[in-house]
Amino acid sequence: MIGSPDVVAFAKEDEYGQTSPDPWPLPEEFSVPLYPLADSNPWAKTSYAKFTKDFILISEFSEQVGPQPLLTIPDDPKVCGTFDLNYFSLRIMSVDYQASFVGHPPGTGYPRLSFVEDSRVVLGDSKEGAFAYVHHLTLYDLEARGFVRPFCMAYVAADEKKIMLQFQELSLRFSQASECLKAGNRRAFAKELQRKLRDLEYTHSVLQREEGLQREAGPQSMYSAHAVEKANELANVEKSIFEHRDLLKQISSYHRRPRRDPHAVTCQKCVDECLSECEELLNKYAKIAYPCGYSEKAGKGEDGQGHPRGQGEDDDDDEEEEGVKRKLSYTPQLIKAKSAKCFDKRLKTLQELCDKTFYEATVALLKETERSFRGDLCYLYTRRLDKALQRKQRVTAFLFEEDLSEDDEDELGTLRPFCAVNHAVDNYVLLNPPPIVLTPEPHELDALERPEHLDPASETSVTQESELGLGESHLESSPSDQTLETQESSEETKGSFSSDKSGVGLAEMQQGLVSMKSEAPDPDPDSDLTPDPNHNLERESSSEEMETTAGEDEGETGGHQTPVSLLEVVSELEANREEECEGVSGSELLAPIDTACCMAQEGFLYEASAPEAVPRLCQNSHLQPSQTLVVNQEPQALLPLQDDYTVGSPCSESPVTGLELPSGLLGDAVSRTSAEDGSDCTMSASTGSDQTASPLGYGAVVTLRQRKKAGQGALRFVRQYPFAIQALWCLLSGRTLVVLGADEGRVRRLVAALALFVPAPGKCGERVQAWLSCPFTLTDLQRWKLIGLQRVASPLGSSMLYSLSRYSRYISILDADQTTLRCPPYRGQLLTNIADHRTYIRRGSTYFLHLQSTLCHLAAKAFLFTFTHHLHLPVSATEGPEVVESRRRCFLQEQLGLGEEDSQILLYLSQLITQQYLQPNGSSAAAPSFSFNYTTSILYKI
């Protein structure tokens, strides 16, 4: 078994060079990992969660009331059941992620915004049966303490493995959502600042005038308490102006700040827009250094404003930011110097904090995320495998596979920045992850304030991770990302997966492998930030050590908190480095590691699979335990867990395609429609109507779900009609099949079932016409390969029959009413296994998969045939076309074992592949060509 970790691992241990590597390694994504623990039942339901399905929870750490849940997606109380959201919010938000330094860093005069990267943590509570991927983010709020409002988004599931193994995708998706929120937030924040600045300047001008008046009133009273107070006030306001101006500068510099987070891809246009906006503001307020244009209106505010101080002054020194937090209201108003009490004010809601469009876009994105993670791990995993395989066969995928083009970019390594305002779709960024810096570069550290070396263990764990994570991918978490483990969970649950622990857990599972793996030739020896040639030596020994000590080590190293300002220097340096590394093709791997963990010494480590880039590594990799849950079986059939989610292809579903019932894969019995599924089956009310049977011809993308549903119809067709094989052959060999019948529903159902067999049906089933009630022409035959035709007894009907007879040489006619089929005889063997009317397959979905595999096999053969040069073209100049022809026939008959009729299938598929290859988008000025042959048809009856 190539995929077996043990064998390969031991082979690797020998030494490189000695064992020759497998010349035909199976690409990583195709190997089926074994379930690691033979004794455990992979299907065993371990969870006793109080909620029925996964959901997304957004919580906030409110400075007034503490952690509180804000909303869940899906937004339905049923989802959470008896699950205590408040308690869970407390758990996930009690990670004091925001313990960053705010206020004045030493050496700067103004309060600083902390630019905090998001942190990603996996938390668990086995008592509750809940595990969560938690994504912390910070939004800016001028009125909040330290200007920041901590939020978190959590993906809550009952299956810890699901979270762990989907970490990569979760992280990607949530990063997108987070970026979107933050983009909106920055706008809102800039606007708020602008308002505030205007107010402050107004206040300033008013105060200046007042002071001037006082001074004029009498020099003798110059040093009166009142005058001092006024002067203080004025100074305060001035300071406040500077502070706010500085804040504005900071927020506008946000974008120029190099991101350490590889997933933080932002829409360039949004960024540019926001930047220019900010700059505009900055310019505006930089000009008015000492504004003095407000004199005329100053009197108005004076009565309300002139004497309100009293308590503010004494705080000035120790609480600089108090000035910032003074209450303000809009339309140039005087700023009350009264410092707001924390509990008096109403905190802005999330909607207010972010621009409305951005907020809505984020929610939509999260909904999509939730949908795409529906289903159990096996299902997700199989689907991913499926997609990986499908991507491998891009040339032929158009034949029988559903369209992948929409949802593949994130898995391809390109990440589309999610943009709330729908900026250019072409705005793709290739996700060559910028190197994630685990620790600042050593010499930089020396230059800064980390004199001591990392201790070996942590360093190796670093290098280890850097390798596992494919070279450049380390994430440096800024000191403000410190992650706290929720303490209580450590005893009662094993499931608090904060960084290291998960690493440890993984390491435990495959202790041996790690060390062996580390011997594997490193494809990118310089991958670590510490280009230490010796680090290889240490690796093996330390890897075991890591599991025991890593936590502490991480804690120690992380214990050093780099002040933000310094960190920014570091991050700039890193940014340079990132630019250097840009060209290195890495995978999208992420190893977010919190080196800086201030309390629980739990950083977190995560390795995700590293496809393609290191096939060598992958064979025996380290990653395998993470894939071991996948068993090569049809998962849904066996797994009762979370069955509400099991249907369909969550990814590709859009609400548009709602023509069908949500058919549970667990049976064809009609579905338990959960409320969340509503979006998938918007029209489920149309149950039993004809449309449900035929998803085709409505211009909507044919989804996997519809195809699976059609599988049932196809199975029925195959079992019911003895001449099904001939009909299938017609479709597969490119002969247009006309389904003739009087009953629309019946014809539509037949067409929907048979559409599965139409090669290259088009994204929306363009090659299929489900119901036609007028005579067709030759162009129709050319366009449609499967036509449902209404039989009418009228003059129109006779002209229709006339066209049927006229074009009879191009078509096969399946008469649904008389159950006859008129088509050329088929005697081949190729289709017997999909058209066996005594098949033991009972379920549509099973049949669909069976069919898929057969068709895939066919497509592979057709691919081989198409791209084998000597089967189509002469090898030498002396060869005539007859030689080529005979060679082709020989290949088809002897090597592929296909008879005459079976060859026609292959020839047709090959022709389609050729056309597709030559004109990928069908973008040709020329009319499509239509091939046929002159053969006699015979009439099949039941």
Binding site: V395, T779, T866, H872, L918, F930, S931
Partner: protein, 463 residues
């Protein structure tokens, strides 16, 4: 049941046989009642000799497409009642140019080749019912020259390459030079066809007469002689070879003329008179109408003259001055255009919407009454068993051979007006259903596609 007769040489199908055919053809589709005029002759679906296994439907016209001209070895132009002229690439099926300018239907189209120092430049001359003439550059789609406000619309065009002039015929005969300048003009003709004869003479068909007109280098036209042997309107006029030309009339007269001596060489009156003897009223109503004998079209390859007579085909040998082969009912309706592909292969298209390919075969020996060849003529695919008693009664006729249907092309839903063959590159047909169809050899196309595929593969350096 068929009868071959000597003397007037025709085959007539008996009522029984025809009925039988109809029954066969209708059973073939599982329906008995809905077509009395279903193709009389049907080859069935198995056509091993038919190499046109791929087609492209070319759309672009809005009305009947009547004319096709070949521009060079890969382009052709189509013109029709919508006044549009479209230039097509036959290899790819692309529409290259759209020549717009005429407001009414096109009545004649021809190519004119200008020889530059380097290149041969082919242009198109079109005449339309809007009484205008235009010269087009098919490469750019530009209208290079145009003349409007003619006295009458032009019915036919003739280019005299040698004299660098071209003629337009209609109510009047005009001679033009390449720059569209009128050289001379003769009114009061009703010219329907023009051909070029040796020694700068021109034959013009005018109603029942053929005029010999000299168009010498002085660029004046003068009627020299008039031939009036035809009893009816002349429908077709062709050059056979250097010394001969032929004309066909509405009532079925085929006359072979000596082009130099200007005298009648042979007269053949095609009469399907036997058909009247049989009572065919159920199928073909009444006596043959004149149109059934009308010579719609003549083609020749120098040795043979192929005449489209009504819905039949008639092959006449120039050397032996006799009919070689014929088929009275070759199509269900009038044959509109024919072509001799070789000495034994020909093609015809008809108002019934089909194009048929024929082979001139020797008749089977009488000793083998139901030989495959003859049988094949009436083969209807699998429904043969119902076709009643096998046809026989072949009367051995010296010199006469038979036309066997080797294939048909069905695609158009209206009358096929014309076709142009690009030999191996395919065949273009145009039809009253506003479409052109490009028929191709599927194997050749697939070979070409494979070639393109591997070229692209090479360019890309892999998949």
């Amino acid at each position: 049941m068929e009868t071959y007769q000597t003397g007037q040489h025709f085959i007539s199908a008996s009522r029984f046989g025809v009925l039988c055919l109809q029954r066969c053809s209708s059973t073939r589709l599982g329906c008995n009642k809905w077509l009395l005029d279903f193709p009389v002759l049907c080859i069935g679906e198995e056509q091993p000799k038919n190499c046109f296994t791929e087609l492209q439907v070319l759309k672009g016209h809005f009305d009947i497409v009547r004319f096709l001209v070949q521009i060079d070895d890969f382009r052709c132009a189509s013109a029709g009642d919508d006044g549009l002229v479209l230039v097509w690439n036959v290899e790819t099926g692309e529409r290259l140019q759209e020549l717009r300018g005429h407001s009414q239907q096109i009545t004649a189209i021809t190519t004119i080749t200008c020889k530059n120092e380097v290149t041969l430049n082919t242009s198109l001359i079109t005449a339309s019912s809007d009484r205008s003439l235009s010269l087009w550059d098919p490469d750019t789609g530009n209208r290079v020259q145009t003349i409007s406000d003619l006295h009458s619309s032009v019915k036919c065009l003739l280019v005299l390459e040698r004299l660098c002039v071209w003629l337009s015929g209609g109510e009047e005969l005009c001679v033009w030079n390449r720059d569209f300048q009128l050289q001379c003009q003769r009114p009061n003709h009703r010219i329907t066809a023009l051909i070029e004869l040796p020694k700068n003479y021109i034959a013009a068909a005018m109603d029942k007469k053929i005029s010999k007109i000299s168009a010498d280098s002085s660029l004046s036209v003068a009627e020299i002689r008039c031939l009036s042997d035809h009893q009816d309107q002349i429908r077709a006029l062709i050059n056979v070879n250097d010394g001969l030309f032929a004309s066909g009339s509405h009532m079925g007269e085929l006359i072979l003329w000596n082009a130099t001596e200007w005298n009648l060489l042979a007269y053949e009156h095609i009469l399907w008179e036997e058909s009247q003897d049989y009572n065919q009223t159920e199928i073909r109503m009444g006596a043959p109408k004149p149109s059934e004998m009308s010579i719609q079209h003549l083609t020749t390859n120098g040795n043979l003259i192929l005449a489209a007579v009504g819905s039949g085909l008639y092959v006449y040998s120039v050397q032996t001055r006799s009919v070689v082969a014929y088929r009275k009912v070759a199509h269900d309706s009038n044959v509109l255009h024919t072509m001799l592909l070789s000495d034994c292969e020909l093609m015809s298209c008809s108002e019934d919407g089909s194009v048929r390919m024929w082979e001139i075969q020797d008749l089977p020996l009488p000793a083998e009454p139901a030989s495959s060849g003859f049988f094949g003529m009436w083969s209807f695919g699998r429904s043969n068993k119902q076709s009643g008693p096998p046809s026989k009664k072949v009367i051995d006729i010296p010199n006469i051979r038979m036309l066997e249907l080797t294939g048909d092309l069905i695609g158009h839903s209206g009358a096929v007006q014309m076709f142009v063959s690009f030999t191996e590159k395919g065949l273009v047909t145009c039809s009253a259903d506003h479409l052109l169809i490009l028929w191709k050899n599927g194997e050749r196309q697939s070979r070409l596609r494979s070639l393109a595929l591997f070229q692209k593969l090479e360019e890309r350096g892999g998949l």
